[in-house]
Each structure stands twice: as structure tokens, then as C-alpha cells.
């Protein structure tokens, strides 16, 4: 393992966050609402994370679904 590799995240929240975001988009919700829901899911798994920190991480995860 190198010092530059991504930190291991044993939590499975990323799949849940991305699923929630994609599902909200598919149901016709605006990106901003889908993001809000995804952040709420993230904070359920990581209640210790601040709102700002959660938003930054989730935005990074769902970026590929919003860039079209």
C-alpha cells in the first residue's frame, strides 16, 4: 500500500448514496434535490460528519452522474 492510495473505507455507504442519488434523478427530481437526499443518506451512515464535509464528499461521488 502506498501513501498516495485512497484510504480504505469499510463502510458500504457509498453504494447507498449513489443509489439514492440515481433513483431520485430517475424519478424526475432536480439535481439539487437528489443531492440533498444523497447527503441525508450519507449522514445516516456518518453522523459525525459535518454538513459541509458530507456535501463535499457526496458531490465528489455523484459527479459522474451529473456531468452530461
Amino acid at each position: 500500500m502506498t501513501g498516495q492510495s485512497k484510504p480504505f473505507d469499510p463502510c458500504l455507504c457509498r453504494a447507498a448514496v449513489e443509489r439514492a442519488y440515481r433513483s431520485m434523478q430517475k424519478s424526475g427530481s432536480a439535481d439539487s434535490i437528489a443531492l440533498e437526499v444523497a447527503v441525508r443518506v450519507y449522514r445516516h451512515h456518518h453522523p459525525e460528519a459535518s454538513e459541509e464535509c458530507a456535501l463535499t464528499r457526496v458531490e465528489c461521488w455523484v459527479q459522474s452522474y451529473t456531468l452530461q
Binding site: R19, A20, S23, S27, G28, I33, V37, V41
Partner: protein, 136 residues
């Protein structure tokens, strides 16, 4: 970006300037405009739009279930944005999103607004939960 435009992009529709104008016309219409009416309103914004473009765009939106086509016993169809009113229940553990509609809830919202002296114009509701271990 209008909500309809966002929905079109999310559904994979390629966005052009003329389509954007047509979507803007549909979003701002409070009636059920015919193709001809959409065309006239769109031309007021962008004179280069042809009726063929309006036909094609409305047909595409209809196929994608983003507008609703009405036939009011006339020789032509009228269109409105398909709002498909529903709410969401989000499973916090898995991220699963369940869509639901509930007549009782609709009445309840109206009653609350009325009781507080308001006419309900818009609302949004998301429920968050976890699957019960032993559902009865």
C-alpha cells in the same frame, strides 16, 4: 434551468437552444396548449423555430412520458407538463427510493394549509426510514 429541462436532461434528451425554448413555453403555460399554440408562443421568443421542430419535440417528450397529451374531443391534441405527482420514501441503509402516492396525505396537506389560512401552491415530501426487522 427549469425543472422540466432538468428532467429532460436526466432522461437523456439532447438539449438544443430551440428545444430549450419549447420547454420554457411548456413550463410557463398554465393552460393546455395545442401544437399550434406552443409554436406561436415559441416563435415569440425565437422566430427561427419551425412547426416541424415543435411537432418533433412534443412527440419526443410524449414518448419519454414527460408531457401528457390530451384529446378533448377536438381535431388536435393539447399538451401539458406531466407532473406525475408522487412522494419518496428513502431507505437510509441501502439508498433504495420508493415512490408512493397517497390520497389521504393529499387531503391532509390541503387541510393543514387551509387551517393555517393558506391556499396550498406547492410542496415537497421525502420520508426517510429503515426496514423494520419484523414487519407485521
Amino acid at each position: 434551468m427549469t425543472e422540466l429541462e432538468e428532467r429532460c436532461v436526466n432522461a437523456g434528451m439532447k438539449m438544443t437552444g430551440q428545444r430549450r425554448v419549447i420547454l420554457e413555453v411548456l413550463s410557463s403555460s398554465e393552460d393546455h396548449p395545442s401544437v399550434e399554440t406552443v409554436y406561436q408562443r415559441a416563435r415569440d421568443i425565437d422566430a427561427s423555430i419551425s412547426i416541424a421542430t415543435v411537432y418533433r419535440t412534443l412527440s419526443l417528450l410524449d414518448e419519454m412520458n414527460l408531457v401528457q397529451r390530451h384529446d378533448f374531443n377536438e381535431n388536435y391534441s393539447r399538451f401539458e407538463v406531466n407532473l406525475d405527482h408522487h412522494h419518496h420514501l428513502i431507505d437510509l441503509e441501502t439508498g433504495e427510493v420508493l415512490e408512493f402516492q397517497d390520497e389521504e396525505l393529499e387531503h391532509l396537506k390541503e387541510r393543514i394549509a387551509r387551517r393555517l389560512g393558506f391556499e396550498l401552491v406547492d410542496h415537497r415530501l421525502e420520508l426517510y426510514g429503515r426496514r423494520r426487522r419484523n414487519p407485521k
